[in-house]
Amino acid sequence: MAEDLNWAVGGEAGDGIDSTGKIFAQALSRAGRHVFTSKDFASRIRGGYTAYKIRTSVDDIQSVVDRLDILVALTQRTIDENLDELHEGSAVIYDGERSWEAEIPDDITAVDVPLKSLAEDAGGAIMRNIVALGAACEITGFDVEYLDEALEKRFGGKGSKIVENNKEAARLGQEYVQENYDLDHLGYNLETTDNDYVLLNGNEAIGMGAIAAGCRFYAGYPITPATSIMEYLTERIEDYGGHVVQAEDELSAINMALGGARAGARAMTATSGAGIDLMTETFGLVATSETPLVITDVQRSGPSTGMPTKQEQGDLNMALYGGHGEVPRFVIAPTTITECFWKTIEAFNIAEKYQTPVFLVSDLAMSVTEQTFPPEAFDMDEVEIDRGKLVDEDEVDEWLDAQGRFRAHAATEDGVSPRAIPGTTDAAHMTTGLEHDELGRRTEEEDERVQQVDKRNRKVETAKNEEDWDYREFGDADADNLIISWGSNEGALVEALGYLEEDGIDVRVISVPYIFPRPDLTEEIEAADEAIVVECNANGQFADVIEHDVLTRVKRINKYTGVRFKADELAEEITNKIAEEVPAQ
């Protein structure tokens, strides 16, 4: 198990918690340390409790754990909320000069630092969180120069004066602790390495993947936690000749994206919660018009407005079955932040190869988690673009009927028709959400109806055969205990393997990024004594699908508190579940 440090800053929304945490995460990354972050936050701009948590190690880490070593507490609630995770080796940094009197259990080291006063000495009270970061550096034996680098990155655009003041604030915090406390007994001494890491979250990875894949048009409507994809693209896509438009609602957003895709652009929309409900209206049109479109759903807690800032994997059924009628589609759910990047690229390729909507299903946990990776994990030279059967003017002829009309929905053997985009000479054609003939014109003829339904379904069959729909595998391939997961639980599961191994429990983990089409797990489940499906929802939507595929019962671990799985918690749950006699229903 990696020797890790778990650090957090917490206070009220509006206290700058997020940027403070991000700066510290950046400093750790600069020092060649791995970082995995998580956020506790509420859907409000001011007030309430919010925290930014960092787990860091020189080894690769992929999960949070139920332990907190250093806590910067700007409010009493921050301490209260985290009491269970604090231990006798923990230290809490707080400002004793502030109006609240910190109540900190005796066995926890209280480090009283006059954050506000020292910040004012450095140039302004606004820098009190930076004073706390300096103090944290001292307690953890972390070289404050890495913090300087992060401050330069964060404040560089605001001028050297601001940067210098912040560095001074950090120094004052560090020196204050050095002069007033002897904390050697805590034993924290953060190592550094020469490794270069990049630090990013899942939504940034999706946005970056979209640009790499040639996405040039994005239409969206702001909604937590999908908005940051839109913000990422807004800042960058114009450098690549693209554009982001903020639509008036999600009904409009998906239709704009569809229009862009119909016109030949690689186009995307992203949403969450009720936004995906509104978009459902247009799923069928995307599918029957056979337009390549990537629809991203960053899942959050539902139903209805639910818990907008909390984790859930509750939209699987929606992604698989949403929309009236039978809508052919592909559903891909990246399992890690790097996979958010690669699967986005794959989604665009599959969308264009099969001229079908692709649902890219991510979740809140991944969207807000910042994690370190070697930059090679996003090697742009590895990016491949496949535009499918896009025809140019020389190829139009072979797809014209006897009257010279372009057969945009030609019922080919593989189900995939030629695709001509506007401006292609002699290929002008219409299409419609009405059932249509090969020319894209309305029909209610039985033969033509059957022909078009079959050809759309045939595309899915072709894709099943031609693409890899593999799962990712971890742990002991011969283990009796099989854990199956989808989406972002992979990291916590991989780390849980370590805990389970310590307890002598062998486990095989199968992490499934393809929800439809998906790998057939019949053999794997039959080979195991225990099969357990892990997911962040109450009803076990993926477990239902697996049971249906394999025609057998599986055990289930479900979490729907709004918080993602943690590695240590998951290890315990798995241990208990294996011991359970009868499959839970």
């Binding site: 690549y240 000749g241 119909r262 030949g264 309305r442």
Partner: protein, 288 residues
């Protein structure tokens, strides 16, 4: 683009199933003629159609076309134009599509001022569903779903456009072929969102807003010397005048700057490299 495009090139070989005498025939003819006269051809034109009788226009015309979901013609057309500023984009739909289920999009498409035209075939009735009240039906217009009339004032689409910050507002009458064609042509040529509400009578379900009614009551703004379409106040006066039915260009903002110029959207977005863009590793390095 060939210079000898005829309006019949925009006609498909599919026979319209509109009722004989439907205003949509004249509306469509004018659209095809206006497109041809403005130097477009079917291969560089994209028509987006809504749902309803009017929505069938994509089938009867020949061009690139998408017949979408009820009420969403404007978002679809917006997406097409953003991705392809080089393509002529025209949206068409009915009063139900545009002012009822799609009213939210209408407001925002108008203020977004994307360089496209929008032709609404306004027959003040739901025709395809066989005669229910539409948002432009008169308040005492009796229908199967409003036996005593809607008892609510009709939407004034021109006023809605004006209030939403429109840069071009016009109205025409399907039966006045030449004027209709001229007005649609002006909408196409306008730098921005060219909106034309067309009186397109439903001969089957609307016995009030008939050809005769419009012939008797229509005032052509071209003949009104006092009217200056570039003057906002003048436009407001005719748009809010509920006593008369007007045809002509009510309002045109001479300083209209279309969306793509405001936002610098000029690229044909369908052109992308075979792999990631050359400098794509910069996107990764940003996260150091």
């Amino acid at each position: 683009m060939s210079s000898d495009v005829r309006f019949t090139d925009f006609k498909s070989d599919k026979q319209p199933t509109w009722c004989p005498g439907c205003g949509d025939f004249g509306t469509m003819n004018g659209m095809m003629k206006a497109l041809a006269e403005t130097g477009n051809d079917p291969d560089n034109t994209f028509v987006v159609a809504g749902i309803g009788c009017s929505g069938k226009i994509g089938t009867y015309m020949h061009s690139y076309a998408l017949h979408g979901v009820h009420g969403r013609a404007l978002p679809l057309a917006t997406g097409v134009k953003m991705a392809r500023p080089d393509i002529e984009v025209m949206a068409a739909g009915g009063d139900g599509d545009g002012y009822s289920i799609g009213a939210g999009h209408f407001v925002h498409a108008v203020r977004r001022n994307v360089d496209m035209s929008y032709v609404v075939m306004d027959n003040r009735i739901y025709g395809l569903t066989k005669g229910q009240a539409s948002p432009t039906s008169r308040s005492d217009f009796e229908t199967s779903t409003t036996p005593e009339g809607p008892k609510q004032p009709p939407v004034n689409p021109l006023a809605l456009a004006l209030a939403s910050g429109a840069s071009f507002i016009a109205q025409s009458f399907a039966s006045d072929a030449l004027r209709h064609q001229e007005i649609v042509k002006e909408a196409i040529e306008h730098d921005g969102f060219g909106f034309v509400n067309v009186f397109s009578p439903c001969v089957t379900f609307n016995d009030v807003d008939t050809y005769d009614y419009f012939r008797d009551n229509l005032v052509d703004l071209q003949e009104e010397e006092d009217h200056d379409p570039t003057d906002y106040e003048s436009a407001k006066e005719v748009i809010l005048d509920s006593d008369k039915e007007y045809q002509g260009v009510m309002y045109q903002d001479e300083n209209s700057v279309p969306y793509h110029e405001q936002h610098g959207v000029t690229e044909n977005m369908s052109d992308i490299p075979d792999g990631a863009p050359d400098d794509a590793m910069d996107l990764v390095r940003e996260f150091y």
